[in-house]
């Protein structure tokens, strides 16, 4: 129970996000209107994805310094969870865009960047699938993980800021920046981000436990 306090925090924060996110008043802004509530669900997905992929990269670096199965499993499962968050982010974004922009896929620079980031990590899993030798698979995928993360930085953080975009928060559109994010919204937004990230870590730890259990089953079968 003492060790699991953060899981309880996550649940409480998410319950708060759900209730406050749908019921509390939000500023009336042109075009966005009530869909501004997507901020509590769509934006934290990207924060979560970045955090998961960063953790995955950190464990990939750790794996190269100290090749243990544990580092490899952690790296893969955090990448998996990050991919899941990314898919959710793109889906929620598409639902939002369908109502606000009129079509789910608008060819916005941020949408394209997100789609490419997901392609990178799908390629990562293809790479893992196509190497037979386990040790080599872990090492090659760790290298690709670090390389892809480095190549993703300009794609996600630099290029979208250089181009004009219809996405809220860029190109003069209202959205997430320190001048027009209402203080009432911050009260929900920051807890939402923390809650979703904690939930992501939780999902990853569960998957890691499943992996470990599977490995133990395999070992027992080998003995039998």
């Amino acid at each position: 129970m003492v060790k699991n306090w953060w899981k309880i925090v996550s649940i409480l924060l998410l319950v708060y996000t759900l209730i406050a996110g749908f019921l509390m008043s939000v500023p009336r802004l042109n075009i966005i209107n009530e869909s501004i509530r997507a901020l509590y669900f769509h934006v934290p997905m990207w924060f979560g994805m970045i955090v998961m992929f960063s953790v995955s990269t950190i464990y990939a670096i750790k794996y190269l310094r100290n090749p243990t199965t544990k580092n490899d499993v952690l790296s893969v499962e955090f990448a998996n969870t990050g991919l899941f968050f990314g898919l959710l982010g793109i889906t929620t974004g598409m639902i939002w865009a369908n109502y606000t922009w009129g079509s789910p896929w608008h060819g916005d620079p941020k949408q394209n960047g997100a789609a490419i980031a997901l392609l990178v990590y799908l390629a990562y899993f293809v790479l893992r699938g196509s190497v037979e030798n386990q040790e080599q698979r872990s090492r090659l995928s760790a290298v690709y993980n670090i390389f892809a993360f480095a190549a993703m930085i300009p794609l996600i953080f630099i290029i979208p800021r250089m181009t004009s975009s219809m996405h809220p928060g860029s190109g003069g559109n209202p959205g997430f920046n320190m001048y027009d994010l209402d203080s009432r919204m911050r009260m929900v937004f920051y807890p939402a981000v923390i809650g979703w990230i904690l939930l992501g870590v939780w999902i990853a730890t569960l998957r890691i436990r499943i992996r470990k259990a599977e490995e133990q089953i395999l070992e027992l079968e080998d003995y039998a």
């Binding site: 196509s130 290298v143 390389f147 480095a150 190549a151 290029i159």
Partner: protein
């Protein structure tokens, strides 16, 4: 050491002339197919279509030419290099060599497009610098990926899958600068993109330099 390895790549390439001529032929046939397709009706190749065709051709040629830098190597030769050279000089010499190869191929690609599809480029100098920078980007990012793909099964498909998402940020910049060159906007308009391209190249080169020893060890 780097110079020796670089010279070795060069001599090997000259000895197997079929590979380079194959690549040039690949480039030629792609440009020719574009020409034949778009020749059906006059004035179909607008400057932007030209740019799209040009970069698609260059991308596929670059992927194919760099892919062979590790995939083509024989198994025993790897072990021989491993025993006499350190990984840093191997990757640097390969990147340098691929840079040269990509630049040559892009330049000849431009010439072929010039011949068949006309030449919408207004700022020749900016475009030349762009070709240098993108070739550098292709060489730095694809060389490491080729060494990863070489270790796995069905490496040719894997090479394409691994490289496209990574090369896209380079291509995005290239397409934007090409449009500026076509519109004749001069240096000022493309300066930001050029700097971004250069920094992407430096980043990718540094990462491949650091990571290559880990691939090499296996």
């Amino acid at each position: 050491m780097i110079a020796t390895l670089f010279k070795k790549e060069f001599t090997l390439e000259l000895r197997r002339k079929s590979v380079v001529s194959g690549l040039v032929l690949y480039l030629f046939s792609t440009a020719f197919i574009c020409y034949l397709t778009f020749n059906l009706r006059q004035n179909l190749v607008t400057p932007l279509v030209w740019s799209a065709l040009f970069w698609i051709t260059i991308l596929f040629t670059a992927v194919n030419s760099v892919a062979k830098s590790f995939i083509g190597e024989k198994k025993g030769r790897d072990i021989y290099y491993y025993s006499i050279a350190n990984p840093a000089s191997i990757i640097l010499s390969k990147i340098l060599y691929n840079f040269l190869l990509c630049t040559l191929l892009s330049a000849s690609g431009y010439l072929l497009f010039f011949l068949f599809l006309g030449d919408p480029i207004y700022d020749k100098l900016v475009f030349a610098v762009l070709i240098l920078l993108t070739s550098m980007g292709f060489a730095t990012s694809l060389t490491l990926l080729s060494s990863i793909a070489a270790k796995a099964n069905n490496s040719n498909i894997l090479m394409a899958v691994l490289s496209f998402p990574i090369v896209i940020s380079i291509l995005l910049m290239a397409i934007k600068v090409t449009k500026n060159c076509i519109d004749g906007l001069g240096w000022d308009a493309s300066w930001d993109e050029m700097l971004t391209l250069l920094s992407i190249n430096c980043l990718v080169a540094a990462v491949s330099y650091l990571l290559f020893p880990y691939i090499w060890r296996s």
